[in-house]
Amino acid sequence: MIVCVLLPRFELTVAAGDREELLRTATALAPEPGREQRVGEVSPAAEAFGIHAGTPLGEALARCPSLTLVPPDPAGVADRWERLLVRLESVGAAVEPERPGLACFAARGLLRLHGGSLERVLSVAHRALRQPARLGAGPSRFCALAAASRARVRRPEIVPGGKAEAAAYLAPQPIGLLRGRHETAALAEPLERLGIATLGELAALPRAAVADRFGAPGLFAHELARGCDGKLAPRQPPERLAEELELPEALSGVQLDRALQLLVDRLLARRERRGRTLRTVVLSAALVEGGTWRDRVPFREALADARRMRLALAQRLQLLPAPAERLSLAVERFGPPASDQRSLLDEAEAVRRSRLREAVRQARAAAGPDAALRVLAVEAQSRVPERRVVLTPFE
């Protein structure tokens, strides 16, 4: 049995902060600076105008000219969401966060720990969160999400049984539930336009027809509607290691680079690092105009060299949309204590080959196995042009 924890409009609520009256009017999260101009989460009043998360900004303002835009607070959202996940993990849950405001965990391992009943597990999780949340439980993740969407804050919804019961429960649910999963979020609108209003109607469509029209995401949505879903992939609870710097005057340019240098040096000097390299860090800033900015930076290879880290991070810092009044740097993932061992002799060819191999590996990881190919002459002297060379995997 899977438990789903849902905090609707989590990002909007965090960004609005103590201005709760905003949530009672037509409000939406403004697009992040430098990103695609689409609104983020919207209040119920804005939904009444037909605005959803992901609606283009121009269209949203055309539908509701009085729409209030709240600057996004990605750093605040990440902090608050991390605290909630840690609270869930503190009761023994192995949590898989789907997105800020939506997380799932398996109840099976917690039953004996918390009194032997699912209701008791839900109650413990609810208390651990220490804030209003909707909880649902079902045989699959998607079914649990559907249950959580219908649940009330003080009354969790449980769907007992297996796949057949999940499919029966999902059948009358609105097709808009597909927006809850990032793999199928884009399908909700076209399906609604085609007149498919419920998940049951989607499940009743021939699988081949769905595949032809919507491809892999369509097939996945079809599976979800029939009560199937993938396995949970709980996260490894991260170690928290961060450094923060209050900037007395809002900084940008060279001064900000100096601040970054200081942050990197402080982070590397922390005893908790225990000599390990850093694989991924998160750079965030509080902006002087309000709102925050956050960027996740995975290094090409695990680093412990302050100079190379600064080189990588300084480029990201140039994307800051406004001067910053606070800058912070946190470790998201550590690397091994020692990075790749260098060869004893500085053989230029070996170094070049090693770098090339790494570049090929990264290109393949990003764009698939055919991302790096090489031209191989098989019959260079052939009189038939198509027999002379082939494209073949790089190694």
Binding site: P385, E386, L391
Partner: protein
């Protein structure tokens, strides 16, 4: 006199598949692709390729290959320059018919 060749592909690429072509994701470069060619009735030289008028014929040659196996190749190649300045290579498949462009 002119003619337009719209017949189905003869798949010269399939004939060309060799040991390397059988490997995993390996695929051949310079595969022929079907071209719409208006040819001269007398000597068969192309007069227009995919709607582009041929200005001059630079070279022509005959390729006869693989005659020792069951899939012989017999092609008349033409290297031409079109009025828009393109340098194109096309061939006429003399066995199965059809025109193809190839670089």
């Amino acid at each position: 006199m002119s003619r337009f060749d719209q017949r189905g592909p003869v798949r010269p690429a399939a004939r060309a598949a060799g040991p390397a072509g059988a490997a995993g994701r390996t695929h051949r470069l310079a595969q022929p692709r079907r071209a719409r060619v208006e040819a001269d009735a007398l000597d068969g030289h192309p007069r227009a390729i995919d709607g582009r008028v041929v200005d001059a014929v630079r070279e022509s040659w005959l390729v006869e290959d693989r005659w020792w196996n069951g899939n012989p190749i017999r092609r008349r190649y033409w290297e031409v320059v079109t009025t828009c300045g393109r340098n194109l290579v096309v061939f006429h498949d003399l066995r199965a018919g059809g025109w193809f462009a190839q670089r």
